[in-house]
């Protein structure tokens, strides 16, 4: 572990430089431990693949205070959280209209499109963190054969609910934004609702499974 200042108001706690489940356990463990303290001087926590950024009020606490706290929490170790047992099911329609890049992914991976869908929907993913935009979940654990580079030129608008692939990552666009991930399907579920008690459908540490649904089911779920 390495703790370095990232600004006059933040520290970056790095657990490694690779994407690995043991490292993610540390990131999520520290994130939950700090969140549980409800310390008013800690303003924001940004989990990443292998690090946690801790943003705080520098008029109230110092970098040294925060580093000492982080070290003591890491030393004490993290209990397994309830998130570990929770698997969120996410229906996805892999129709060509919703997944305009499915054919390209099939070509790149040299797999039939049905096999891409079967593999994508067959895996269990972990929400590594949410970032980029409100409610965007970065999912780890995609089968290696599906790894496909992102688009050379990002789209100006990607529809909300779109499921995409970028390198070894997969994720869901919560709202309509520009985006460069290869789109292979769409979920009818609303991923982000600012007014809700819990604004995002998934949180860092959750596990996710995609459930392939047909167009009729998509429309039924969408209007529900």
């Amino acid at each position: 572990m390495r703790i370095i200042p990232a600004s006059d108001s933040s520290l970056l706690v790095e657990f490694g430089a690779v994407i690995a489940p043991e490292i993610q356990d540390q990131v999520i463990g520290l994130f939950h431990a700090l969140q549980a303290r409800e310390d008013a001087h800690i303003r924001n926590l940004h989990p990443g693949y292998a690090s946690l950024l801790v943003d705080f009020d520098p008029l109230a606490i110092t970098h040294k205070d925060v580093a000492t706290l982080v070290e003591s929490l890491v030393r004490a170790g993290f209990a397994k959280t309830e998130n570990d047992s929770k698997v969120v099911e996410m229906p996805v329609c892999y129709d060509a209209e919703f997944g305009p890049d499915l054919a390209d992914v099939a070509t790149y991976t040299r797999l039939p499109a049905e096999e891409v869908v079967r593999l994508h929907a067959g895996a269990i993913y972990r929400v590594c963190f949410l970032g980029f935009t409100a409610g965007f979940a970065y999912l780890g654990g995609m089968p290696e054969v599906l790894h496909t580079p992102r688009l050379a030129t990002p789209r100006r608008a990607v529809a909300a609910g779109s499921v995409g692939i970028a390198g070894g990552q997969t994720g869901i666009y919560p709202t309509q934004t520009p985006g460069g991930w290869r789109l292979i399907g769409r979920t009818p579920l609303r991923m982000f609702d600012a007014q809700a008690e819990q604004p995002t459908r998934v949180r860092a540490g959750d596990r996710v499974r995609f459930l392939a649904i047909d167009r009729a089911e998509f429309e039924r779920r969408e209007s529900a």
């Binding site: 600004s7 006059d8 994130f31 990443g48 110092t62 970032g131 965007f136 600012a194």
Partner: protein, 309 residues
């Protein structure tokens, strides 16, 4: 108590001091780009420092007041008229019922702030009145103001407007390089590259907004060609994509990113970033974390000291 929008201006939103505690859901702080001007505006009309105000960008708003109210304008100078009269900035001004306030173009910065006594009354979303334009929530219906919008004003407490000390107006201009501390991936850049970054006068590009200010000047590509694993971005971080042109990530920033961060704007200078506009020049100078925190303390003392009486 209401105010209606006659002309929205270029980009006007409701903002407070920002939405904190939700970065782990991908939610940026938003909030006033120049938080110092927001606080001064609120203190002048004796609101809470964090009360919702209007943030106007480059071209101001024209507002029709249905009721008498006390307002204050702060931030960048802009020609504001009440009928034939010029409205002075940086002081509380009483507006009569039925008046129309016309805010013109800003002259010495990008953003101007209008506080009303009682604050703009919008629902809090995740604890804040700030508009998150990308996520379409918070502020007034999650968007910038449009012609015909009717804004409600909160109930003012029995309060006395305050005045700035006569000498303060001069002190409201900040010059010199923007102060930064070393970024989390500063060592990804060669000492020469980092020196070049500190030695360059950058131009703020037209492709700049509240999410990020793109700078144009000497390219400072990292010597380390590794791919950075996406990590958290602090407010004011300066990231450098492959083309070597730095980007200051600002109040509507993405919460995580994959480009190395060479430096971070210090908290005490963040308000100055909010006043930069396209084609402005900006230079950076490095300070230590201790100096940065001391500058922030000094700014807080200064803010407490500028009010008369």
């Amino acid at each position: 108590m209401t105010i209606s929008v006659v002309k929205p201006g270029l980009f006007t939103t409701v903002q407070d001091l920002g939405r904190y505690g939700y970065a782990h859901l991908g939610i940026s702080p938003a909030g006033a780009a120049d938080a110092l001007s927001l606080r001064i505006a609120n203190l002048l009309v004796d609101n809470d420092e964090n009360a919702p105000v209007l943030e106007m960008t480059l071209l101001g708003t024209t507002l029709a007041f249905e009721d008498p109210v006390i307002v204050a304008l702060t931030g960048a100078s802009c020609e504001c008229k009440l009928g034939p009269d010029t409205v002075p900035a940086n002081q509380a001004v009483a507006i009569a019922a039925g008046s129309v306030l016309q805010c013109g173009s800003t002259t010495n910065g990008a953003r101007c702030y209008l506080a009303v006594q009682g604050g703009f009354d919008v629902p809090l979303v995740m604890g804040s009145a700030s508009t998150d334009v990308r996520g379409s929530f918070g502020g007034f219906e999650g968007r910038r103001l449009q012609k015909g919008d009717v804004l409600r004003i909160g109930k003012a407490r029995k309060a006395e407007p305050r005045r700035l000390q006569a000498s303060t107006n001069e002190g409201l201009r900040w010059t010199g390089p923007v102060r930064v501390t070393r970024g989390a991936q500063c060592d990804w850049f060669s000492p020469d590259g980092y020196a070049k970054f500190l030695g360059t006068s950058y131009l703020v590009s037209e492709q700049s907004d509240r999410a990020g200010l793109r700078l144009q000047g000497e390219a400072v590509s990292p010597r380390d060609k590794r791919q950075l694993l996406t990590d958290g971005i602090p407010l004011g971080a300066i990231q450098v994509p492959q083309d070597g042109q730095p980007i200051i990530l600002f109040v509507d920033q993405q919460t995580t990113g994959g480009y190395p961060k060479i430096a971070s704007v210090i908290a005490a200078d963040m308000h100055r970033i909010g006043q930069l506009w396209p084609r402005d020049e900006v230079r950076f100078t490095q300070v230590s974390i201790a100096e940065a925190v001391e500058a922030l303390r000094a700014q807080e003392r200064w803010l407490k000291g500028i009010f008369a009486g």
